[in-house]
Structure formats: structure tokens, C-alpha cells
Amino acid sequence: MQVENKEFKPLIVAFCCNWCSYAGADLAGTNRLNYPADVKIIRVPCSCRVNPMFILRAFQRGADGVIICGCHPGDCHYTTGNYYARRRMTALFSMLDYLGIEKGRTRVEWVSAAEGQRFAETMNSFVSTIISLGENKRLEDLRCKTK
């Protein structure tokens, strides 16, 4: 890979389900567990609420990585939501890979409300993967650039 650009600040969108992962992120905060500010969280009721459209939009608008976090399998507040999310995202991610959005830029992770540590670790590892992949240039639509 090319030499890393030290200045590169990735733009990362994290969709977190309200019942587990969002609470896990809160716990990471309460325990003062650091992860890069590049991660911005969007709260959704359940991981199954994440429409592939949202992910495409994020990449189109220049996001460098998108991560979806939900309850552990079997723990979804709505029983089966995360299974749908997992199935949908597997299909979407391989399609994105085909379009040139490397698999590393997309991820699904299960984080419970008790796993603040796991949330911070997940974000740290995701950000470093994205940094090593560099900027997303494949899907970004320059017409969307405002600056």
C-alpha cells in the first residue's frame, strides 16, 4: 500500500441500535474509553432499520467507512432484527466490494449495552483499518461536495 498520509482524518458513520449498541457507546463514554472523533454515531431503533440506501448515501457523500452495530444474535430487542441486518448487509457488502468499496470499509458488529470496552475497541480497530485503506474515492460523488 501507499505511504500513509498522517493528515488523513477518515469520516466514519456508525449506525447503532438503540437498545444495545447505542447504550454500549454510552457506556464507553461513561467509562471514558477513548476512540477517535472520526466516528459519528446515528441512532436507529434496531440494526434492521438500516437501509442499504443510507450506506450508499454515506459513501456517496464521502464517508470512508460505515459500521453497523446491533445487539448480539438472539438478543435483539425485537427478537429477529439483527438477523435481517446481518443477511442484508452480507449481500450489500459483497456488492459494494464488487464496486470497489473494499470489504474493510464496511462492517457489522454486535455490541451489548454492557460492552463499553468492546465498543471502544471495535471503533479503534475500525478506524485503523480505514486509515490503512485510505480515502474512499470510488463512490464519492464530487457533485455532492459543498466545500
Partner: protein, 663 residues
């Protein structure tokens, strides 16, 4: 365009130390639609809330963004504050700049920049918020209890005691469940019938309780507060309101060779029968599989003998339709069949019995009138071997169950003790993997069996039971002394695993309640909501939720009743307005949404639409029942035509957040 107010909280120094709150307020003031922006030390304090309320009034705000701690902390506080001055509470959004920002980023410049972005995302969302009004639905003040074992009886009694009507639907001819078949009960050794039958009678006499015995659930429709249920009253060929339960018919019926299920098939009953003396309701039932009249049209003895003319050979199943506000599942359990465990020779020798059969053999109302006799030759057994964990705690689970059945250790200790008490000349062996006795006075009970009653407890497995010359040759391993044991036993008793009633699975489908892989009903939360099912308005009581003994069953039964009462005292239920809704003009009726909805909230109907050419056409479209929808959003993503959307988390709102973050 919305008129938005932004309120940035310092949270003392929790936020202000690492986020430049003034700058956040200033920057957000520049966003389109923002007409007011302020920062304050504690937004959640009374004066903070007053600041918000005043600004809403003064600046005629239509939307509010609070940059503060997690919405999981204070979303409700701020929504209430807004509502108190007439702003719809769902016009409030929170940017979480504490847990997700100030607490994790040490560098002030970074924290401030991120806080501004999070604030922008919330503003972008609020622009698309619409006032939401939570729907209200009335509550039918009547409960349904499915299953009339001790669990169902206790739940019904508690609900009735609180003043609400309850119906019990029991599939067998009498209520009472398995407890009616037990002899004595651990750990107190009081007689099961003596403590159960008064409750059965109380249930029968309680004015608020209606018992549908010999009945099953055909169909369940509706939702919490408003269930509509079809109950099938199976034809018992006896008029329930006329039969006095005198039992004359059950003595005169010429069909004498019907295996008696109450005594586990160890003796016979007639084709017309009353399950046991204290049955409730005490009404005869004709078993259509054995009745000669029903099968061949010849006989009619019972009808001739019945003094009150209660027999009706033409009776048909009857469907009763009733409305309920809450449903309690109390369908209990069954012991598994030991047929799969060939090594214990259950199908080869009548002297190998299950524990429930043993209960009947010990019971004064059982097939031997309480004298312990070998089923094969009616002789008194001198050596009895008890085998624990038959089908419980099996790996692989193709033969048995992966879980511990929880009651077997204790009832085996009970059986061993009662046997030694009544017949001190018998040798009693118990083979166990572990003895599990957590429970009040349980371990003491087990130790009494070992120490006072000299029951031989042997840690080890029984490998094989071979019937030979009237004896049962038991081959076993003693794991502690590492010896092979050979015992010539007169009887072998198998503590078979418990499993949910076979009817539970289809019932769960009717109720859209979920089950685990072992077909036990699952609770809404394993720790914090143990008596509620994930389906609103459906509650769980007793063994149908998992193995438990009578004290635990009764506690859970009363807990479920408390939850039901809490629901029925309400006149109206206020729903969650963040629910799905479909755009009928876009919907193509494909059913994709219906298939993914875990709650069955989506239904279809044919609607008339005016077409562009001024004709009308019928189209099948989806509609969401807002009282049932829980707002997960699964359907919104499944919908291929973009017709399904979620209030509060709409496609446009989330897109706007994505856009604001990726600027």
C-alpha cells in the same frame, strides 16, 4: 421552514471542560432555521428547563435541539418540558455531546468540532420531524388464562381477587394439571391433592372465573388490550350444565378397557369417565375413540342410566368468541417418553416405570390404592433403583434435552424417602450425575434422605437394565469408587426430563409469542421481565416458560397476575407513536413487509383507488396496526417500493443525518 431553538448544555464541567460550548452554540446558530441558540450550565435542571420553555414560547419555536447527555438519560425530561408549553414532544431531538464526545475526546478543538457536527445532524433531523400523537386504545377488562394447571389456577385466582373477569381454557376435561397426579410434594411432604383441590374448588366457585374445560384455542387476533379469541369447546357428549357428576354412567359403561391417562395408563377406565374424584368441573366426558355408541351407533347404556338426561351423542364442537385485554400462557409440561432410552428396558418390562408413574403407584387414589406393588406380578418390591437425568442434560440432544429439568433431583429424593419410610425393608439406590438442590430447605431434604433414611446415593450412570427371571439386572458404574456395579432390582424408576406441552408450538404461532429452541416460551427479558412474553399483552406462568417446581410456579403465576392486573386497571393504553406506516399509493401489495414483521402488525386489504384515467381499481395494500407495531423498522427496509416508512426515524430523517455528518 421550522423555527428551531438550540440549547447547549455544559453539564457542569462534564461537557464544558472538553467542548467549547459557547462556540458550539454560536456555530449552530448559523444553521438554516435556527432562530435561537443558548448555552447553560445544567439544561436538565428546573431553571434549564425553564430556559427552554421560555424560548419555545418567546420565539415560537417549532423544533428543539438539545446538545447534552445521551437521549437515554434525558430525552423524556426534555420532551415533557416541551409538551408542557404546547410543543409536540416529538419535535425535540438530542445531540449526544457528552457520552459520545466530551467524555471520550480529550482535545478541546476535536471535541468542539465533533459536537458541532453532531448538533448539525440533529438540526437536520428536526427539520424533517413532524408532530406525532401516540394512539390510544381501550382495554377490555377481562383476562384469558390458557392452561389450568397450578400455574393457571393461581394466576386466575389472583386476577379474579383483584376484581377482574378471567376465563381459563383447559384442554383436558378437568383443571389441576400435573400437580393433581402427584402424591406428596417436596420439600414439605404435604399431600399434593390436599393443597391443590381447595384451589381448584375456589376457582370453580369464584364468580369472576369461568372455566372452559375440554377446550382449546382456535384463533387469536388483535393486540394488547384488545385480543379477540376463538375457543373451541370440544364435544364431550355430555351436557355440562346438566350433569351432576354422580358417576353412575362411569360404572355402568360396558367399554371397560380404556387406558386411564390419569394413572399413566397403569389401569383402565371406561369410555365415559370423570378423570378423578375431585375433578373440576365434575362432569363426565365420553371418549369418542372408545365409545361404542359413537363408533357403531349401538349401545346407549349411559344415556339410559343417566338420571338427569345429560348424555347427548349428537353434540358438536362449539366455537365461543370472546374478547380479552390480556392473555396468560400456562400450558405447563409433560415428561418425555422414555421409549428412546432402550438401555433402560422401559418398553420390555412393566417394572421399569417413570417417576410420574411412580407417583401414581404411591398415591392412595392410584391404581394400587397406594400400596407399592410391582406392576408385573403385584408383589412388593425389595430393591428399587432410581435413575436420574434420563433425557436431561444430554449433549447432542438428539435423544434427550440439553437442559436440566430442575425438579428431578428433588422428587427422586422424595420418592426414595417416602419408599423407605413406608417400607423400611426395601433397599433404595439412586444413580445421579450431580445432585442439584438449590432451594429453600432443599439440601436439608436431600441430606435427610441420605442420612436418616439410608438411601444409597451413587454417583454414576446406569449403563443397562436387563429383565431376567423376574428381576431387573442393573449394570452401573460407581464413578467415585471406580467400580462396576451389578444390582438385582425389582423395580427401576426413571426420572425422565420434562418438556413443554406438544401443543405449545402451535399456540405460540397463534399468539405470535416466541419460543426458544426447546419450545419453552421466551420471556421479554431473561432477568428484568421474566413473566412477560415479547408480545405485548401476552404473559407467561409456570413450566411453559422453563422447568420449575411448584413454589416457583406459584410465584411466577402471581407475578404474571400482577402484570395482568397492572394492564387491566388502565382504561386506555397509550402507544408508541414511532411506528411504521405505509404509503398506499406506493405499496404494491408484495407482502415483503409482512414476512419480516416479528409482531404480525401488518395486514392487507383490497382498496379502491382512482386511476389516472378516472376509472377505479381494486389494489391490495399493506396497513400497519399502530397498536401492535413496536417500531423496529424491519419492514421499512424490506419494502422494495419505498412505501413503508417509520415515524420518528424516517428514511428522510436518517438520510438528512447522514448528509449532515458527511459534509
Amino acid at each position: 421552514m421550522q423555527r428551531i431553538g438550540v440549547f447547549v448544555c455544559w453539564c457542569g464541567s462534564n461537557i464544558a471542560a472538553t467542548v467549547d460550548v459557547q462556540r458550539v452554540a454560536e456555530e449552530l446558530k448559523k444553521e438554516p432555521g435556527v432562530v435561537f441558540s443558548a448555552d447553560y450550565q445544567y439544561m436538565c435542571s428546573e431553571s434549564g428547563q425553564n430556559l427552554i420553555k421560555d424560548a419555545i414560547k418567546e420565539h415560537a419555536l417549532t423544533g428543539v435541539v438539545i446538545c447534552s447527555c445521551s437521549p437515554r438519560m434525558h430525552e423524556n425530561t426534555f420532551r415533557k418540558a416541551a409538551a408542557s408549553v404546547g410543543l409536540n414532544p416529538y419535535m425535540v431531538e438530542i445531540a449526544n455531546i457528552r457520552e459520545q464526545c466530551s467524555w471520550i475526546h480529550k482535545d478541546k478543538a476535536t471535541g468542539t468540532e465533533k459536537a458541532i457536527i453532531l448538533g448539525r445532524a440533529a438540526i437536520a433531523k428536526v427539520h424533517l420531524n413532524a408532530p406525532l400523537i401516540a394512539g390510544e386504545s381501550p382495554v377490555t377488562k377481562r383476562a384469558l388464562v390458557i392452561g389450568g394447571g397450578i400455574a393457571g389456577i393461581q394466576t386466575a385466582l389472583d386476577i379474579a381477587e383483584a376484581g377482574f373477569e378471567v376465563d381459563i381454557v383447559e384442554k383436558s376435561p378437568t383443571i389441576g394439571g400435573k400437580m393433581a397426579q402427584l402424591d406428596k410434594t417436596f420439600p414439605t411432604l404435604d399431600c399434593s391433592a390436599c393443597i391443590l383441590t381447595p384451589k381448584m374448588v375456589e376457582a370453580a366457585q369464584q364468580e369472576k372465573i369461568k372455566i372452559y374445560s375440554y377446550s382449546e384455542i382456535d384463533e387469536v387476533k388483535g393486540f394488547v388490550g384488545n385480543f379477540s379469541v376463538k375457543i373451541r369447546r370440544k364435544a364431550r357428549y355430555v351436557k355440562e350444565d346438566i350433569c351432576t357428576g354422580c358417576g353412575l354412567c362411569t360404572e355402568k359403561c360396558p367399554q371397560k378397557k380404556v387406558p386411564n391417562e390419569f394413572n399413566m395408563g397403569m389401569d383402565n377406565r371406561r369410555a365415559i369417565y370423570i378423570p378423578f374424584a375431585q375433578a373440576v368441573p365434575k362432569v363426565a366426558t365420553i371418549d369418542p375413540n372408545y365409545c361404542t355408541m359413537l363408533k357403531t351407533g349401538k349401545c346407549g347404556v349411559c344415556s339410559k342410566i343417566c338420571g338427569v338426561k345429560a348424555i347427548d351423542y349428537t353434540q358438536q364442537d362449539e366455537i365461543v368468541e370472546a374478547k380479552y385485554g390480556a392473555i396468560v400462557v400456562a400450558t405447563g409440561f409433560n415428561p418425555i417418553s422414555p421409549a428412546k432410552f432402550d438401555e433402560f428396558a422401559y418398553s420390555q418390562s412393566p417394572d421399569v416405570v417413570t417417576s410420574l408413574e411412580y407417583e401414581r403407584l404411591m398415591n392412595a387414589a392410584g391404581p394400587t390404592n397406594g400400596t407399592l406393588l410391582r406392576p408385573s406380578d403385584g408383589k412388593h418390591p425389595h430393591t428399587i433403583v432410581f435413575v436420574q437425568c434420563v433425557g436431561s442434560r444430554c449433549d447432542g440432544a438428539e435423544k434427550g434435552k440439553p437442559y436440566c429439568s430442575k425438579v428431578c433431583c428433588m422428587y427422586t429424593a422424595k420418592h426414595a424417602m417416602l419408599t423407605r419410610e413406608k417400607y423400611p425393608d426395601t433397599d433404595v439406590y439412586v444413580f445421579y450425575i450431580d445432585v442439584r438442590t438449590p432451594g429453600k430447605n432443599f439440601d436439608e431434604f436431600y441430606r435427610r434422605a441420605v442420612e436418616e433414611y439410608n438411601v444409597h446415593y451413587i454417583k454414576g450412570m446406569v449403563g443397562k437394565v436387563v429383565p431376567e427371571n423376574g428381576k431387573l439386572k442393573v449394570q452401573a458404574a460407581d464413578l467415585l469408587s471406580n467400580e462396576q456395579l451389578h444390582i438385582d432390582a425389582d423395580m427401576v424408576v426413571l426420572a425422565t426430563a420434562v418438556e413443554p406441552d406438544p401443543s405449545a408450538r402451535s399456540l405460540a404461532t397463534k399468539l405470535t409469542a416466541s419460543m426458544d429452541t426447546n419450545d419453552f416460551f421466551t420471556e421479554a427479558h431473561p432477568k428484568l421481565r421474566p413473566v412477560e412474553s415479547p408480545t405485548a399483552g401476552v404473559f407467561l406462568s409456570g413450566m411453559c416458560q422453563g422447568p420449575k417446581d411448584i413454589p416457583e410456579t406459584v410465584s411466577q403465576a402471581s407475578a404474571a397476575a400482577a402484570k395482568v392486573i397492572g394492564l387491566l386497571v388502565k382504561d386506555k393504553l397509550v402507544g408508541n407513536p414511532c411506528v411504521a406506516h405505509s404509503d398506499e399509493l406506493l405499496c404494491n401489495g408484495c407482502s415483503s413487509c409482512e414476512k419480516v414483521c416479528p409482531y404480525g402488525a401488518i395486514t392487507y386489504s383490497d382498496k379502491e383507488f382512482r386511476m389516472p384515467d378516472r376509472t377505479t381499481a381494486l389494489r391490495r395494500v399493506a396497513a400497519v396496526n399502530p397498536a401492535v407495531c413496536q417500531g423496529c423498522g424491519a419492514c421499512t427496509v424490506a419494502c422494495p417500493s419505498g412505501a413503508m416508512d417509520l415515524f420518528g426515524f424516517s428514511n428522510n430523517q436518517i438520510m438528512a443525518e447522514v448528509d449532515a455528518i458527511c459534509k
